[in-house]
Symmetry: C2
């Protein structure tokens, strides 16, 4: 049969995470692998009431074809949330997407040429590498420290003629890393010098455990920045409501790319999401997610202190869903995972998060879906395995 | 500012239809332009009950991240609906997409190389041209008559090394054309000789006014065919639930492309759609849509007889949503539209539906959202304008 697969069709590979998730869905496995939010935080009653209200009040509209750019009141709400003194966001800059993942696909189509350079953090979000890889770019990893990308690492961008720097400023996936405001300013200065643009992917900012929020790259960098956001970690990922905020001319092209991709994100889920959030619900709801995650993060940090051997180091996240562990140099995360699955514990090895030169002795641990006693038990099992491999 | 737009980002243009729709949304315009289903057919109560049931019974699952391929019971339901004697469809061949529009984007990514040939009907669905254009193919139009593509027109496919033939077999958008079963067999024979594969896009088959259904290309052609389907014209487009059925190896690659594109179609709308259809609801509901559309189609055909001048010809659709009119050669559909909008009537000119050499004296008329008295009034206005242009 004459099906001919394209270069892109042959290039694309499955996300290592999603393959691992399939293995670890068994209920007897303690899984630190998922990037899934804790389901007990989903506001079921509120979403049910919103469905009923939307269908009663504007049902045929919410079920009809709709404009590609997204529901106007939802875009206005997003624009208002992101406007700051000196940085007014127009709803015409906002595009609703099917999860923020889709924004990455659209950005690839509109901005990336086959073979052109895209700068990423070291390490970076695997799903972004996967989405952008369909545009066949060359990824270049920017050197990073615990505060994020090093500004001097961006000065090479001009030589590379890079299309943009992709970064996750708050509680990064996979490292949990947070870029302090002074570093943000320095990165933007270096970007201006290199005439480099930025894609700021920020699904986790509202999950700062102390409720603080740093200035966004968008508010500091204006037209130099496309910002991605999502309701997946604040309401529920199964609604698949994300968005991007871009300079008007780029946003116009992103709208056209989205029109070709799926006409529009479901009008019904957009209307439901707006109905849920419009009266300030998130301001009451999100603090309950924060305190749950803060407690489980503390439980995991305590378990790591208790059970992991000297030579393993990890960060202490100030928000979000992930802890990043660097193991003793002799321990390969992928080998550890094979043994861990036999002991009914799972996590994601760090290597797939590197666009270049993977560091194999790393792992990503998610603490949000496992209750504290099982966090301790799971980390204890991992600690024993690591000690065994060191002997 | 250094935003660099890719070749694809510069290539993509807006759908002429969606631009026209913006102009014609005013309530005083009689619009035959839309491809929107009639909103009074949306089963609002049934969808509201389904939302409530899904959230009560499996709410957290329906709101969590989910497998890229789609909800298993929905895929099983689709596989069963498409299985015929000698053609058993496995749920592993089914991928749920965000409307069938998304399947076209994914097929482009997986099968189309920049510069490779894609065969299309003359004319063809504008949204397909738009979706596939992001993969930068070369479109070649296959000669067609009133029964669809001419089989001898496919024999050139081998010389072109075409990636596939894209066609809409039932009540085609834009022409309302129906490919009889004998022609389907002849097309598949020619395709086998040319070692050509087919993409069968079939959103309208259930809208045959007499309730009949012809053998699908999928059932006749097996592994040579990818079939696209949708709930948009049977339930409600705002749910954005479509699907494709493909050979297992191609489907595996389409799943990976979808994972990169948006992780998955909203789990909530998938669960709601399955809840609505699982007990045979469509068998009771779809006949009500058919009789509404059949009556409005008859009203439009009668109005055309009454008001359009000699020299204009049109088809008599057996189903679906569209009538295709070929005007006297001197009348340009785009010029007619400008004057029609002044008279508060709208339609879609035919030229944008041609991948090559547009035939300007054509128009697409949709009759499904306009009540019969207004159909007569709108067609009368158009008839007067055409006669005026002929003088």
């Amino acid at each position: 049969m004459a099906w001919q697969v394209s270069v892109r069709g042959r290039t694309i590979t499955s996300s290592a995470i999603r393959e691992i998730l399939k293995v670890t869905e068994r209920p007897d496995v303690i899984s630190f692998a998922g990037g899934l939010p804790a389901p007990q935080t989903f506001p079921l009653d509120r979403i049910r009431d919103a469905c009923t209200d939307v269908l009663a009040r504007a049902g045929t509209r919410a079920l009809q074809y709709a404009p590609t750019e997204g529901l106007a009141p939802l875009r206005e709400w997003i624009a208002e949330r992101h406007s700051a003194p000196g940085c007014a966001i127009d709803p015409e800059q906002v595009l609703i997407t099917t999860g923020s993942q889709q924004a990455l696909d659209l950005i690839g189509k509109v901005l990336v040429e086959a073979g052109s350079v895209v700068l990423v953090e070291t390490p970076t979000y695997l799903g972004a590498l996967q989405a952008l890889s369909l545009s066949l770019p060359r990824f270049v990893s920017v050197p990073c420290d615990d505060d994020g990308p090093l500004p001097e690492g961006l000065l090479a961008a001009r030589a590379h003629d890079a299309r943009f720097l992709y970064l996750i400023p708050n509680f990064q996936n996979p490292t949990g890393r947070y870029i302090p405001e002074a570093r943000r300013v320095a990165i933007l200065q270096a970007a201006a010098e290199a005439d480099l643009t930025l894609v700021e992917d920020d699904p986790y900012s509202a999950l700062a455990y102390d409720g603080s929020s740093a200035a966004t790259f968008l508010s500091l960098g204006g037209d130099r920045v496309i910002r991605l956001g999502s309701f997946s970690k604040l309401l529920a990922p199964g609604l698949r409501i994300g968005y991007c905020i871009a300079p008007v001319d780029i946003r116009r092209r992103l709208v056209l790319a989205k029109q070709a991709a799926d006409l529009h994100t479901p009008s019904f889920t957009q209307a439901v999401a707006f109905e849920v959030v419009k009266d300030g619900f998130l301001d009451r709801h999100v603090p309950t997610i924060r305190s749950l995650y803060a407690a489980q993060c503390a439980a995991m940090l305590a378990a790591l202190e208790r059970h992991f051997p000297p030579g393993a180091v990890w960060n202490r996240p100030r928000g979000g869903m992930f802890v990043w562990v660097t193991l003793p140099p002799s321990i390969d995360g992928a080998v550890l995972l094979e043994r861990a699955i036999e002991e009914k514990v799972a996590f994601v090895p760090g290597a797939p998060f590197y666009a270049e030169q993977p560091q194999a002795n790393t792992m990503r641990l998610s603490f949000v879906t496992v209750p504290p006693p099982l966090i301790d038990e799971g980390i204890a099992r991992l600690g024993r395995l690591i000690r065994g491999m060191m002997d």
